[in-house]
Amino acid sequence: MIQTVSRKRIEILVDTPLVPRVVAQLKAVDISGWSVIHVDSGGGRAGAWQDDDVTGASAKTIVLAIASEAKTSGLIEAIAPLLDSYGMLLTIGDVQVVRGERF
């Protein structure tokens, strides 16, 4: 049987122009891989929005990263102070991965 290991699945919803900042934070805690998914529309306390804004200033994306528990804790510490001021949303789930050495 193939062996799997536990890792954290980190999802960060963030305004697209701020993605480089989030990636910098990931790298700072040594999380070396991430994937960016476009979010079409949504809604929250500040009302509903679509990605139709030609300026791109309010477009949102999800930054997805798989990482070890230790690195994830580091990220939470680093990124938590920014969550509110940057209007980000951070969720952490558990996943199994095959050959998890790389994360």
């Binding site: 305004d15 009302g47 139709d52 804004d53 030609v54 791109g56 309010s58």
Partner: protein, 298 residues
Amino acid sequence: MIIDTLTSPVILFFVLGFVAAALKSDLSIPEAFAKAMSIYLMAAIGLKGGVEVSNSGVTAEVAAAALAGLALSFLLPVIAFALLRQFGVTFVTAKEILTGQGLGPAGYMVAVLALMETPAIISGLMLARRGDKDTAEKSSTPWHEVLTNASVMILVGSFIIGIVAGSDGFAPIKPLFDTGFRGVLCLFLLDMGLIAARRLIQSRKMNLRLVSLAIVIPLLNGAIGTIIGTLVGLDVASAATLGILAASASYIAVPAAMRLALPKADPGIYLSMSLGVTFPFNIIFGISIFAAFAKAIG
């Protein structure tokens, strides 16, 4: 003259978009297509401006307009302090409308647009930073983001290409960038109409004070721009155009740069005012108002 404006297809498509969104229609322009149109429009105005400067050369009038634009662009954010400067799309629409009324501004005004874009973003950022003293981001300079902003790059870049290529080099690409221009502008303004109305509907924090600010400040700035344009000796149409530039928001360039430079500022309310109030006001009334004002004082 407002009647003329209101029967131009360009404006009518804006109104169509606005009405459709106000009626909660599901009509929407795909994001990728809207971005493609904005790149096309910027490239087209840059090219055409460059070609015109390559034809006319850098005359005293061009220099005066450029200086007036630069000065306005640095000073107006300080005068108006509450609202960021805005240009871009309005300029294009203004040029179409004024030309349709036999009032075509000089071709080099597009160079002035490109010149004004950058300092306006910078002044805006510096003002915004003053109220934001205690952030970690304060130290990181926005200059790089501003100067390499997509709109600035494409506008300045295609302006230079226009100068290098000249009329002869421009000829083979003229069918796309010149002949097709107004049609694309119609579809782009259809999208801007949709966005403007949706911004207004979705905005929760908008109030009468903000709405009047979003109209009064552009009017003030536009008047100053028109006066300075007239003082430095621009023709009526170019002075009106400078007024319109001074009254407008870079609906394309500024917000994304702001979002990056000031992550704590919510772009929502700024975008609602800029795209939902100032842009429609400038398109429908502003252009006619500054044209009339420039004629009166010209």
